[in-house]
């Protein structure tokens, strides 16, 4: 499944790259891109675990930059 999410308060470009790296490491994630300019994340991941993966991704986002929130 492929889905697009908004990222609130994504203010640091370097962080976007770090988030991308961390989320890529979540098991079941096929592809992810975090776009700093459009403040959007496109996630392609395993259907069966999709909701879980999104939750983990939200944690990764917080971990890199505590001000940024993944809007689900």
């Amino acid at each position: 499944m492929k889905k697009k999410f908004d990222l609130d308060n994504l203010d640091c470009a370097n962080c976007a790259a770090k988030m991308e790296d961390l989320i890529k490491k979540i098991p079941g994630v096929e592809d992810v891109s975090v776009n700093f300019l459009t403040q959007k994340m496109t996630l392609k991941a395993d259907d069966a675990r999709f909701d879980e993966i999104v939750k983990e991704a939200a944690k990764c986002v917080k971990k890199v930059d505590s001000d940024t929130t993944l809007l689900v």
């Binding site: 203010d11 640091c12 470009a13 370097n14 976007a16 790259a17 770090k18 790296d21 891109s33 776009n35 700093f36 300019l37 459009t38 403040q39 959007k40 496109t42 917080k62 971990k63 890199v64 930059d65 505590s66 001000d67």
Partner: protein, 648 residues
């Protein structure tokens, strides 16, 4: 500026004023009572915290998550280090300047984001659908093929479809960059994303919203940035190692000289701090993708969809362009170019007889002749509008009914013979007339020539050919000026026809009489003969050359508004069939790459220079702050030039 930014401005100004006051007090000796005391730094803590408390809070939070190479954290360490070595004014000053830089950066990024949003502002918000005799606004997603929607004047067309009622002028500029509106009447297709003019249209929807043109374009533009160009990939990899490398270098710089060579600790800690200030690769990480985004945006504003930054980079390096002939360089429609009536015959008679003779043929040549005759009749009808002129409806047919066209016979490879009002008429190539023993004069023009004879008497000839598109010559010239070394044309057409077009447009090499699969082979030959770095682009109309489009380094499809196959197969899509847009897009691509390279060299150059100066103790922390945020702001502003580029 938003509220948060305004608050930051107030904080920065207050902190700056406080700092200046403190420096004046210090210089005039009013702070001398603090000299040598351990708490001498306390006054300077005030402007420092005022300007940078959020940086410190964030650093604390992020370090708790294990983010060692966080820019806030590194900034905090750098300024703490400055306090530690007794550079109080510098410590607060650097924090203030860092915040000023961040503020400018935030404003610039916000501005770019708004320009990008404006670029994407082609998505329709609602569709008017008729339900129980009433118009209801619904989400375009809820409308399905076959439904009837109403588009009021000035509204954005929400879905692709066909007009069933009404007429209007449609502004396609947001999709094609073309400023002249197109007319839409009953039976015409309309494309989502365009703006309706002053008429109300009832449209039968032909596709789901997610398959509609506007949804496709939006998806392509948004995903374009995820297809990263080699330069972007380099920056991403570089950014990953840059911060850790600089941080480790800073630690080594602080520790090794004092430990091994007995140097002064304070001096080397100070130098290490300048390193930490420059440790964020932000200038590159923001400005490079922004530049590409701007380039893709500028292209889309002239009606050219570039499907990824990688394709924009490839386009800037194209050295060979291969064109398909029909539909790409030529209009792809056969037209009567010239009439050569024999003596004593009028042009009108020649054309009428020719069209009559070809009444029952479905050959493109026959269609061209009939179309020319219809045009002539409707012009005549317009001139004599008040008379009862023939010209209503399909005038070509009604003429055929007035006259008596019988006994049509095809003479393979030569033409045909018919009886018009009982008189035998021959229409075909020179061989046909020669065989019939008709005395006639040959025409030398390129194209297909139809000779006409009635009752053994030569009536004249008509030249029919495909014509070169307006602007094609200029387009090829400006491509050459933009750095294209070789132009090639592939054609399935006869050699003579292809070479005439080739000569007219001064194309370097022309290959004709190619079957669709031959085109792929030919392109592969051209690809093999080129050197590794030079790119070869193929331009086609996407109708039957999808394999060639996908085989080239860069596939450019044109005239593809609404054509799925072409949009799928191509890397760059021209929304209308204006060839001149290729050269324009190439210029945009080259400008984008120039800006991106400028930014990379500038940012890396300044950073490395300051790092080296810093290692030798020649760079102050002020300079380091500039190398960090100052460079970032300048690089972003440079990239924003692409976003501001006007259409055309």
């Amino acid at each position: 500026m938003n509220k948060k930014q305004k608050r930051t401005v107030a904080r920065i100004i207050t902190a700056l004023v406080l700092l200046i006051l403190l420096i004046i007090l210090e210089k005039t000796g009013n702070l001398s009572f603090l000299d040598g005391r351990w708490y001498a730094f306390v006054p300077f803590l005030l402007p420092y915290l005022l300007a940078g408390y959020d940086v410190i809070l964030k650093a604390a939070k992020n370090i708790a998550h294990g983010q060692v190479f966080d820019e806030n954290f590194l900034m905090m360490i750098a300024t703490f280090g400055a306090f530690f070595v007794g550079e109080y004014a510098e410590a607060s000053g650097v924090m203030i300047f860092y915040q000023i830089g961040e503020l400018f950066q935030g404003i610039a990024v916000g501005k770019s984001r708004r320009s990008i949003a404006a670029l994407m502002d082609i998505s329709p918000e609602y569709a008017n659908i008729e339900r129980d005799g009433e118009l209801v606004e619904v989400d375009p997603d809820e409308v399905h093929p076959g439904d009837l929607i109403v588009i009021k004047p000035g509204e954005r067309i929400p879905l692709d479809g066909t007009v069933v009622d009404g007429s209007s002028m449609i502004d396609t500029s947001s999709l094609t960059g073309e400023s002249v509106p197109r007319s839409a009447r009953e039976g015409d297709p309309v494309i989502s994303g365009c703006i309706n003019g002053s008429g109300t249209l009832r449209v039968q929807v032909s596709r789901e919203y997610e398959d509609s043109t506007v949804a496709k374009i939006l998806e392509l533009t948004e995903n374009a940035s995820s297809r990263k160009s080699p330069i972007e990939n380099f920056i991403t990899r570089f950014a990953k190692i840059y911060t850790p490398a600089v941080t480790i270098a800073a630690v080594l710089l602080a520790v090794i000289p004092p430990l091994l060579f007995g140097q002064d600790w304070m001096e080397w800690i100070k130098r290490a701090c300048t390193f930490l200030v420059i440790s964020c690769p932000c200038a590159l990480v923001i400005s490079v993708p922004l530049g590409f985004f701007g380039g893709i945006g500028a292209s889309s504003r002239i009606g050219v969809l570039v499907k990824g930054s990688n394709f924009l980079e490839a386009l800037s390096q194209v050295k060979t362009i291969v064109f398909d002939k029909t539909g790409t360089l030529t209009k792809g429609e056969f037209r009567v170019q010239k009439l050569y009536p024999a003596e004593g015959v009028s042009e009108a008679e020649l054309l009428r007889k020719a069209a009559l003779a070809e009444t029952y043929s479905t050959h493109p040549i026959a269609e061209a002749l009939r179309a020319a005759q219809r045009e002539r009749l409707s012009e005549k009808a317009a001139r004599t509008a008040d008379q009862d002129a023939p010209g209503t409806g399909d005038s070509g047919r009604s003429e055929a009914d007035d006259y008596f066209v019988t006994d049509a016979q095809e003479i393979a490879g030569k033409g045909l013979s018919v009886l018009i009002d009982g008189k035998p008429v021959l229409a075909g190539n020179a061989a046909l007339l020669r065989d019939a023993g008709v005395d006639f004069s040959e025409t030398e023009d390129a194209g297909t020539v139809v000779y006409l004879a009635e009752d053994g008497r030569f009536l004249g000839s008509a030249v029919i050919s495909d014509s070169v598109k307006e602007g094609a010559k200029e387009a090829l010239e400006s491509l050459k000026k933009s750095g294209v070394r070789e132009t090639v044309m592939l054609s399935g057409d006869r050699r003579k026809a292809a070479e005439t077009v080739g000569a007219e447009l001064s194309i370097d090499s022309v290959y004709s009489e190619l079957l669709p699969q031959d085109k792929v082979t030919k392109l592969e030959e051209i690809l093999r003969s080129g050197t590794g770095k030079d790119k070869t682009a193929y331009v086609g109309d996407g109708i039957n050359d999808a394999p060639v489009l996908s085989r080239a380094d860069l596939g450019i499809a044109m005239g593809s508004l609404g054509s799925d196959a072409a949009v799928e197969a191509a890397d760059i899509v021209l929304m209308d069939d204006d060839v001149t847009k290729i050269a324009e897009t190439m210029k945009i691509a080259q400008k984008t790459l120039r800006i991106v390279r400028e930014n990379i060299w500038f940012a890396l150059g300044v950073k490395f220079a300051v790092l080296i100066l810093g290692a030798f103790g020649l760079a102050s922390m002020w300079l380091a702050t500039f190398a960090d945020v100052g460079v970032a702001v300048i690089a972003i502003l440079n990239s924003m030039r692409m976003l501001r580029r006007k259409a055309g």
